[in-house]
Structures are given as structure tokens and as C-alpha cells.
Amino acid sequence: MKRIQVAEKNKLWFTLSLILVTISLGSLFIQGLNFGIDFIGGTIVTMELHAPFEEADARGIVDKFDTGADITYAGDAKTQVIITTKKSLNTEERQALFSGFQEKYNLQAADLLSIDTVNPSIGKEMASNAIIAIVVAVLLMLVYITFRFEFLFGITAVIALVHDLIVVLGVYSIFQIQVNSPFIAAMLTVLGYSIMDTVVVFDRIRENRPKFGKHAYLDLVDTSVTQTIVRSINTSLTTLIAITSLYIFGVPAIKDFALPLMVGIAIGTYSSIFNASALWYTIKEYQFKRHEKAIAK
């Protein structure tokens, strides 16, 4: 098999990643994220109307409660209505809203398909918990890799992870896809999955080390990546196949999980192959050259 030039073309991969990160951060600063009710609070009510409806009719009922509400169609025959308000409606308001539709479309109690209401206070908590969870998870992974491998492996793996996080957030920001609590769970899973890929490559580097010259980092990294790349791609493919079927055939609640997983696994696989070990090589090489210089003096 032709050798993959990860360490050899490290500048190319770093440039590519830098571009991705810059675009992502740019979008995050300029338009930010489109947070859903889990984070900013609000109410989502879904009803089965049994017949196609005019948005204007629905708007007439909804405007009494929140003029900024989103009204969208759902269901196979577009007979369901989803009303999303930015302010969280209290029990009386929700009941009045449902009564409004009940009268107009002659609905039964069971036609109220689902209600989701989140107070803004809960949303703020959720956001801070999410950040804590991600920081804790990353630190624990760093500790584990340092313990099983070495600190430099750990820190490069974590840098690759931060890259994955930023790019997935960037994708969500660029396309303004709504971010709710499943996104956080998916992000943490992506962290675990992406580092799993990275560990497999590092594991091979660790194993191959005695076979190469003490400072033949370039050969060591590129050979190891070449040996593991088929596995990396194949496992990411199987996972992507499974998750993509969920995304295509699943219900909205499952799609919220599947989409960030798909994006994250794709990015994670890229960074595990092309970033983590290239970064390790670059730092090792830099340390080695500095050491040589010190001796030469």
C-alpha cells in the first residue's frame, strides 16, 4: 500500500484545519448559534389537525399568545402543526391555545400530540452544565491518555478534539441548525468516538517505535497511519452507515441526535488521521531540533 503522507505534508493538513477552524469561529462570532428552547426557554406545541391548514388561520390563533411564534407543518400529510414560541407559555396560556385550535378544527384531547415547555432559567443551567460536562470529559481523557501513553500524546489528542468541537459548532452555526440538549450528548459522544480513533493511531505509533530509529519520527508516524487508516475509515463508515439510516428514517427526536453525530464522526475521523499524529510529529521534531541545536552550541 502506498504510504500516507501525514507527517510529511503536515503543513497542508494544518492549513486545511486552520481554514476550517477560522471559518467556524468566524461564523460563531458573526451569527452565533441558533439555540432551541432547551437553552433559551420557550414552548413547543404539536397538534394533529386531521386536515391541511392555512398558516394564516393558525397564526390568527397563535398571535394572541406570542406574535413571534414559529408555525411549521409536520406529519406525512402535513396535517400536523408545530408551534414554537420564544416565551414559555404557562398552563392557562397553553390551554387557551389548544382550545383555540380545538374549536376551529374540532379536535379531541388526544390530538394534542406533544408539549415541550422550558423556562429560561433551566436553559441557562443546561448551558453551563454542558460546558462543565465537556471540560470534565476532556480532562479525564487527557489524564487517561497521559497515564497509558504519554503527556504529549494526550495534549495533541485534546487539541484535535477542540478542533472537532469548533468545526461541528461551526457547521451548526453556518447552517443555523437548532441546538438543543441532544446536541450536547452527541458532542460528548463525538469526543469519545474521535479520541477512540486517535488512540488507535497513537497505539500503533507506540508499538512501532522500537522498530524505527530513535528520531525517525516522520517514518514512524507515516507508517503507523498507513497501517491503521483502513481500519479508521472502515469503522467510521460502519458507524456513519448506521447513524445515517437513523437520520434518514428516524423521527425528529432521533434526528436531533443523529445529525451532530454524523457531522462529528466525519470531522473526528479526519482529525484523528490527519491532525493528531501530524501534530505529535511536528512537536517531536521541533523538540528534537532544539535539542540538536543546544548540543551544537
Binding site: 394533529e48 384531547a109 408539549i115 415541550d116 460536562a133 470529559a137 450528548a185 456513519l240 428516524g250 453525530l261
Partner: protein, 420 residues
């Protein structure tokens, strides 16, 4: 192929294993009846989450005021009261748990009227009888029984009313008040809302009273059960509500199962195409994996939620990963000139460390999610953790046995079969 080299015992073993997977799978998904016992049928015995059965999930936050701080005792007694109220409307098995210092999470499966259930849970149900001067005569604490009944009034019209029976002390207080305020109006307030304001015509010493003005018998019955259950010691504000109607839940379940089956089938085909003979073994191992995970979930009574299904499908991808690592290793060893059986042993030994290290990192993510997440996120974490543990077991223990048996059968001795 040399027929003499075929090892009979191993062939039988392999066929037996394949058949037993099929049998166990059949029992698991369709169930069989042996005498009076129903065995299997995981679809019926697994514990489904609210998002799949429909139901109401509410997080209530106790509102603290300076005069009336929230205490742990108040939360505990609120939980008791809420449980009584839900039991009184006779719905199945609510789960009521304390969350943090000042929150209560209430989950009720299979609720047909979502708003009604929400109403019942959060009402403080502070019942007060007030005199014309707004002095409190008696409160819900003085009521020992209450019922919603149909009653014919003076004009012969049948109306839904709530009957009240006072305690001994309440009877006395009520008698005194009706004496004092004869001909005047008494207000009956529920949660600061006047629900009835009857005029006192006679002195009532029987210790009984009725609240009129109910819409129908259901409303009367609900109010009666609120009064019976007693007032909540604190004001509870719903901060998060998630309800799902029963039909939506059912749809989600069947659509997710369909999506899952397609996803898993595609993975099985992929493995077969890419890894051929070894892929077939990986597929067998994957089916065993699915059977074990579902069995453990049923045995431990783990609740299966929609995010949980996503987690399960994700771990199917991961379970394959361990096999891929092992197979790549075996292929590498075989290419370096070792015999097939030696390659298998060396390949497994080498792959073990890799699989362990790579799975521990994902386990870390799973545990962080479990301990720091809530609700739906926890459901995802549970299946993720369970899936990783079982997938390591099937990859390392079961796949190894399967491969050795297959090689020993001598049926397939050409390297192409093993994707070499």
C-alpha cells in the same frame, strides 16, 4: 479444496452456533409459550420510556420566599401529596423523584389527557373558606373527606358538586362561622381564585358542605381528589414540561425500529462485502451482541428511550469497530507469513490493548454524560455504556471462538475467503 481436511466436529459446532443464534433471536423477538410460561418477546417485556409510550414529564421548582423558605421536609411532603393525587386518578406507576435541593421531577406514563394531568400535578390546592371580611374561617386541612358527585338542586336540575366533610374541629369552626355570617356571603378560594361564593342560609352543624359551580363530574372529581390529597406545602412552578401523546409515542417507536433495522442490515452487508468470511463471523458476533444487549436491558429493567435507541445503533457501529481492529491485525500477521491460526492468536493479543484503550475513552464520555446529564441524555448514556462493555466482550471473547471454529472446520482454506 481437500475434502479429507474437513473437521466434522467444528463444522457441526459452527452450524449449531448459527442455528442457536437464530433460535435465541426468534424467541427474543417473537416469544414462545412453554406451558404457562411466556418466554422472551422483548418487545413486550422491555421497559419503554415516556417518549415511546406517551406520557407526561414535568420538573417542578419550589418557589422560595423569605417568609416561607423551601426545606427538604416540604419537598418530601410535596412528593407524597403529588403521588396521592396521581394515584387518585388511577394512572399507571408514576415516577416522582427529587432533583437537587428544590426541584421535583414527575413522570407519568400513558396519559391520555396531557393538560389535565399537568393541572393535577402543579396545583397548590390551597383551599380556604373566607368570611365577608376576608378572615380565614377554615382551610383544606380541616377537610377529612371530599367527593365529586351529581346532586339535584332545589330547581330539580342535576349538577356536579364537590362534597366536603370537615374534621371535628372544622365542624365547630364552620358552625360558628355560619352562625356569625348568616345571610352573608362566604367565599371558597382555591389557590387565590374564588371558585364559589355561596350565601349562608342556615347554620350548618353537620360538618358537611358542598362546592357548586363545577363544569362537569370530571372537574368535580378532580377538585375533590385535590382537596383529599391536601394542599402542597410550597408553591411549585413547572420549569420544564415534556409531554407526548400516546399515538406519537407509538409512531416514534415503530419508525425508530424500522430505521434501526435498516441501519444494522446495512452494517451487516458492509462487513460481509469488505471482510468476506471474517465479515460473516463479525456479523454473527454482531447479532450475538444485539441479543446480549437487549437481554441485559430487559433484565436490569433499563428504560429504553428514543435517545437510547440512537445510542444502541451507535454502539452497533462501535461493536463492529472492535472486530475491524482484530481482523486488520490478523490480516497483517498473516501477510507477514504466519499460519492462519497463529495469526489469529497474535492478532487478538495485539488488538486487545488497542480495543481496551480506545473504548475506555468513550466510556469516560458515557459516564460523564450519565452523571452530569439529565433526562433524555441519561437514557442515551446508559445504552452507550452498556453497549461499549458488551461490544468489548463479544469482540474479544465471542469473535475469537467463532474464528477458531471456522478455521478448524477446514471448509475454507483459501486466503481470499478471509479477505487476505
Amino acid at each position: 479444496m481437500d475434502k479429507k481436511n474437513i473437521h466434522r466436529k467444528s463444522v457441526i459446532k459452527l452450524i449449531a452456533i448459527t442455528l442457536s443464534i437464530a433460535l435465541v433471536g426468534y424467541i427474543l423477538f417473537y416469544g414462545i409459550t412453554v406451558g404457562v410460561y411466556n418466554i422472551g418477546n422483548i418487545g413486550k417485556s422491555i421497559n419503554y420510556g415516556l417518549d415511546l409510550t406517551g406520557g407526561v414529564n414535568v420538573v417542578l421548582e419550589a418557589q422560595s420566599t423569605d417568609a416561607d423558605p423551601v426545606t427538604s421536609e416540604k419537598i418530601d411532603s410535596s412528593i407524597l401529596t403529588i403521588r396521592q393525587r396521581i394515584d387518585s386518578i388511577g394512572v399507571s406507576e408514576p415516577t416522582i423523584t427529587k432533583q437537587g435541593d428544590n426541584r421535583i421531577r414527575v413522570s407519568i406514563p400513558s396519559v391520555s389527557d396531557q393538560e389535565e394531568a399537568l393541572n393535577l400535578i402543579g396545583k397548590t390546592a390551597q383551599l380556604e373558606f373566607l368570611g365577608p371580611d376576608d378572615s380565614v374561617i377554615l382551610t383544606g386541612k380541616d377537610v377529612i373527606d371530599s367527593k365529586g358527585v351529581m346532586q339535584t338542586d332545589n330547581s330539580g336540575v342535576e349538577k356536579a358538586v364537590v362534597t366536603l366533610k370537615f374534621s371535628e374541629e372544622g365542624t365547630k369552626l364552620f358552625a360558628d362561622a355560619t352562625q356569625k355570617y348568616q345571610g352573608q356571603i362566604i367565599k371558597i378560594k382555591l389557590d387565590d381564585e374564588v371558585i364559589s361564593s355561596p350565601t349562608v342560609n342556615v347554620v350548618i352543624t353537620s360538618g358537611e358542605a358542598v362546592i357548586e359551580g363545577m363544569k362537569d363530574i370530571d372537574e368535580a372529581g378532580n377538585l375533590a381528589s385535590l382537596i383529599r390529597g391536601g394542599a402542597l406545602p410550597v408553591k411549585l412552578e413547572p420549569v420544564e414540561i415534556r409531554t407526548i401523546g400516546p399515538t406519537l409515542g407509538q409512531n416514534s417507536l415503530s419508525e425508530s425500529i424500522f430505521a434501526g433495522i435498516i441501519g444494522i442490515s446495512l452494517v451487516l452487508i458492509f462487513m460481509l462485502v469488505v471482510y468476506r468470511g471474517l465479515g460473516f463471523l463479525a456479523d454473527l458476533a454482531l447479532l450475538i451482541y444485539i441479543i446480549i444487549v437487549l437481554t441485559i436491558m430487559t433484565a436490569l429493567n433499563v428504560t429504553l428511550t428514543l435517545p437510547g435507541i440512537a445510542g444502541l445503533i451507535l454502539t452497533v457501529g462501535m461493536a463492529v469497530d472492535a472486530n475491524v481492529i482484530i481482523f486488520s491485525r490478523i490480516q497483517e500477521e498473516a501477510r507477514s507469513g504466519k499460519s492462519l491460526l497463529t495469526s489469529i492468536d497474535v492478532g487478538f493479543a495485539r488488538a486487545f490493548g488497542t480495543i481496551l484503550d480506545s473504548n475506555v475513552t468513550t466510556l469516560i464520555a458515557g459516564f460523564v454524560l450519565f452523571f452530569l446529564g439529565s433526562g433524555s441524555v441519561q437514557g442515551f448514556a446508559v445504552t452507550l455504556i452498556l453497549g461499549i462493555l458488551v461490544s468489548m466482550f463479544t469482540a474479544i471473547v465471542i469473535t475469537k471462538r467463532l474464528i477458531k471454529i471456522l478455521v478448524k472446520t477446514g471448509l475454507f482454506n483459501n486466503n481470499a475467503f478471509y479477505g487476505l
